[in-house]
Amino acid sequence: MWKRLLLIRGTELAVLAMLAAIPLVVNNSYVLGLITLLAIYGILLIGLDVTVGYLGQVNLAQAAFLGLGAYAAGLSVAHLEFGMLASLAMGFGVGLVFGTVLAFPALRLEGPQFALATLSFSALSATTLNEWEGLTLGAQGLQVSRPPFLGMTLDAPGFFWLCLLLLALVWIGMRNLLSSQWGRAFEALRDSPVATDAMGVGTYRHKVAGFALASGLGGLAGGLYAFNFQYLQPQSFGWDLMVILLLGVVLGGRKSLWGALVGASLIALLPNLLSNRGLFQLISAAGLIIAVAAGTRGLLKKTAGPFRALAPVVAMGVLVAGSFVVENTEDWRKAIFALMLFAVVVGLPEGLMGFAAHFLARLFRIAPPPLPAPAPLDDVLPKRTVDGSVLLELRGLERYFGGVKAVDGISMTVRAGEIHGLIGPNGSGKSTAVNVISGLYTPTGGDILLRGKALPAGSLFKVARSGVARTFQNLQLFGELSALDNVMVALKDVYRSPLPLVLLGLARAEENRARAAALALLELVGLGEQARSRAKDLTYGDQRLLEIARALARKPELLILDEPAAGLAHPDVNKLLGIIKLIHERGISIILIEHHMDVISELCSVVTVLDGGRIIAAGTAEQIKRDPKVIEAYLGATDGVAPAPAA
C-alpha cells in the first residue's frame, strides 16, 4: 500500500519539482519557452485523450477549441479588461460551451461520422475567426497583452509556474475523475455501448460530458497559449496543428496521463529537433532500429502479421533515406510527421507509454490496494415482498424485419415473484421479444406495460432506469474492465456525489461503498475470487455469471435472463440453477429464456412457448411438456408429411 503510493505519487511529485526547478537553474528564454509550451500542450493533450483515448473516438476539433479559447481569453482582456484568472476561465468556459453544443449532435454518431463532424466544426471555427474581422482582426492577427495575475504582473518564469500549476491541477482532477464512476463509464461505453445503455448508465450523456470537458481543457490551454505567445492568428489553429496533436496523443500513448505528458514534451521539442540535421538523422536512425526490433519480435512471437511488422520498417527506412537525401528538412516537415505517425500507429499502437508500461509493470510489482469486505447482501439487494400482482404485460407485441415477422402478436403476463419461462425453437422470436421489451428494438406494434404503465419503447437506457435489467445471449461485457468494475459500472443508488467533489477527490467513501456492494454481488454468483480479473480473461461460464451479477447491480424488479445456460457445461448449469433460485428468493421476478427443458421445469412456475413469432402454448412446465403442439414444434412433425409433390 505504502510502496504503491510512494512510487506513483513520488514519481509525479519528482517530475513536477524537476520541471518547476528548471527556471531557477537555467536562465535561458528559449528553454523557458519550450517548457511553457510543454505545460500548455500537456493540458491540451490530457483533454484530447479523453475523447481519443477513453471514449475511443477520433476527435479532430481540439485545435479549434485551442483557437477559440485563445481568442476568447485574449479578447476578454482587450475588451472586458479581465484579469488572468477570469480570462482563463473565459477560455475554459468558451471551450466547454462550444464543446457541449457540438457534442449534442456529433455524439449521436460513431466513428467516421463523428470525425467528420469535428472536422467540419474546426473548419467552421477557422472560417469564423478569419472572417469576423471586426472582432478578431482576421488574418492580420491579434495582439494580446498578458493580464495581471491577482494584481501581479507575471514575468516569463512566473507565467511558466502558473502554467505548471494549472497542469498539476488538471492532472489531479483528471486522475480523480478517471478513477471514479465517470472513468469507468467512459471505458465501458467504448467496450459495449449497448450494454452501457442497458445498465442505465446513459452512453450519450457520458459522451457529451466527456467531450465537453475535453473541449473545456482545450479552451483553457488556448487561454494560456494566447498569453504565452501574445499574438494570435487564425491559421495557427488549423489542420497542421491538429495532426501534430494527434501525433502527441498517439505517440505518447492513449488512455494515460503520463502518455499525454510524454506526447506533449515530444511535440513541443520535435520541431526544434528536426531543424538540426545531425539530430534528425540520429532520431530517424533510432526509429528505424526500434521499428526493426519491434517488427522482428512481433514476427517471431506471431503477435504481428507481415504488414504490421514491415510497414513501420519501410516508413522509418524512407525517413532515414530522406534525412540524407533531402536538402531542406523544414520543407518536408509534414511528410516527416506523417511517416513517424504512420510507423507508430501501425507498429506501436499503444504508444511509448503503453510500450513502457509493460516493462515497468514487470520491474515494479506493486500489490494493488486491498479490497474492502463485501457488504451484507440485504443492503445491496434488499428482499422485495411479492404479492403475485401483474408486473409486466404484453399486448399484441409485434416486430417485423422486412418481410420476416420475428414477433407476430404476442400477449402475455408476468406476475410479481414468478420465474416465467420463455421457450421455443431457434428463431421462434424469444430473443427478439426480449430485445423489444428491453428497448433495444422499437416494436412494430403492440403495447408493453410495466405495473400498468407503458414502458418507454425503443430506449435501452430508459427501460433500464424503469427497473428492468437484462443479460445478453451474446455476451456484452466490458471486456477491458475487471469483473468488479463491470458490476460497479451498473451499480444503482450509490453514486450521488456531484462532479466537483469527484474532481477534488472527495468521493472516495462512496467509491468504497460501491466496491463493497459490487463484491457482495460477485460473491452471490461465486466470482468473489475473480474480482480483479479482466472480464475478457474469465472463462466462458464465469462471463455468463458476471453478466448476471452486473444486471443485479441495477437492483431490478424484473430480471430478464437471455439463455444464461447456453454453452455451459453440466456442473456450471447446476451452479447457475442455484444462483437463479437465490435471486428469486430475494423477490426479483425473472423472465428466463432457455432451451434446456430440465432447467425450465426445475425453475419456472409458468412457461410460455413461442414458435414462428407466436405463442403456441402457455401453462405450467408439466402441462407444456404434454402439449402436443409443443412436442410437434420441438421435434418437428415428420409423421404425416405428405410425399414430395412432383415439381
Binding site: G402, G403, V404, K405, A406, P425, N426, G427, S428, G429, K536, D537, T539, Y540, E563, A565, A566, G567, L568, A569, H595, H596, M597, D598, V599, D611, G612, G613, E632, A633, Y634, L635, G636, A637, T638, V641, A642, A644, P645, A647
Partner: protein, 238 residues
C-alpha cells in the same frame, strides 16, 4: 467428399469445438444434431472457413482447406447456406441466385445467358421464387428466404453443401416444406451436411448422423441405430 479431423475452434479465449471429427461421403445426407450451444453452428463455420480453426484438418475432396479464407473454400466447391439464411436483402431474388453461381460465371457480361438453364432449374424447384424474381430479397417471408438461401447454394453446383438450421424461425407447415425440399435434394444426389435442431425430422432424411454435445461428437451412427439409442433423445431433449 468431406472429412473433418479433430477440429478445434472458438471465439477469443473460449473454445467451442473441442476436437470434432466427421465424414460426409459423396451423394449422402449427413445430419449433425445436438442441443443448443453444443457447437453445431460453430462447427459449420469452422468447416467453411468463416472462422479459422485453432487445430485440426478439413479435407474437401482430399484437399486440406482449413487454412483458407471462406471465399477460397467456396470456390473449391463448398456451398454453405448459413444459419439465419443471410440473403442479400437489398438485391433482387434473381441477383441473389446469380451470385450463388459467382464462382463459375463470367464476371462482366454474358453471365445471365450462361446461368439461364440453372435458374430455370431452381425456379422449377421453388416456383414461388420465380413469381418474386424481381422483388428485393429482404421483403420475402422467412420461408421464402430459406428457399432462396437453399437455391442460392445450389446455384454453385457444389461438391458438398452445408445447410445450417434451415428450419430456424419457420412455422411448422413451412418446416415440412423445407424437409420435403431436402428430401428432393437427396434424391438428386446432392452431398449434404445438415445441421438441425429438429432431430427427428433430420434423422428421417439422413443416411448417417452425428450427435454433438459440448463441442464433441457424442454418438454417431445410422438413423435407425440412433433412434434405438435412448441416450440420443435424452441428450437432445435435455
Amino acid at each position: 467428399m468431406l472429412t473433418v479431423e479433430n477440429l478445434h475452434a472458438g471465439y477469443g479465449t473460449s473454445e467451442v469445438l473441442a476436437g470434432v471429427s466427421l465424414q460426409v461421403k459423396a451423394g449422402t445426407v449427413v445430419a449433425l444434431i445436438g442441443a443448443n450451444g453444443a457447437g453445431k453452428t460453430t462447427g459449420m463455420r469452422a468447416i467453411s472457413g468463416m472462422i479459422r480453426p485453432n487445430r485440426g484438418r478439413v479435407l474437401l475432396d482430399g484437399r486440406p482447406v482449413q487454412d483458407l479464407d471462406a471465399s477460397r473454400v467456396a470456390r473449391l466447391g463448398m456451398a454453405h447456406s448459413p444459419e439465419g439464411r443471410k440473403v442479400f436483402g437489398p438485391l433482387t431474388v434473381e441477383d441473389n441466385l446469380l451470385l450463388g453461381a459467382y464462382c463459375r460465371l463470367p464476371r462482366f457480361f454474358g453471365f445471365r445467358a450462361r446461368a439461364a438453364a440453372d435458374l430455370e432449374g431452381i425456379y422449377a424447384l421453388f416456383p414461388r421464387l420465380r413469381e418474386r424474381r424481381q422483388q428485393a430479397a429482404g421483403t420475402l417471408s422467412g420461408g421464402e428466404q430459406q428457399m432462396l438461401a437453399i437455391g442460392r447454394a445450389l446455384m454453385a453446383k457444389p461438391k458438398v453443401m452445408l445447410l445450417d438450421e434451415p428450419s430456424m424461425g419457420l412455422a411448422p407447415v413451412i418446416v415440412q416444406e423445407v424437409f420435403n425440399t431436402i428430401r428432393r435434394l437427396k434424391e438428386a444426389g446432392i452431398t449434404l451436411l445438415l445441421v438441425e435442431q429438429f432431430a427427428k425430422s433430420a434423422l428421417e432424411v439422413a443416411d448417417y448422423a452425428y450427435v454433438m454435445d459440448r463441442g464433441r461428437i457424442a454418438i454417431e451412427g445410422t438413423p435407425a441405430h440412433l433412434r434405438e439409442d435412448e441416450r440420443v433423445l435424452a441428450a437432445y431433449l435435455g
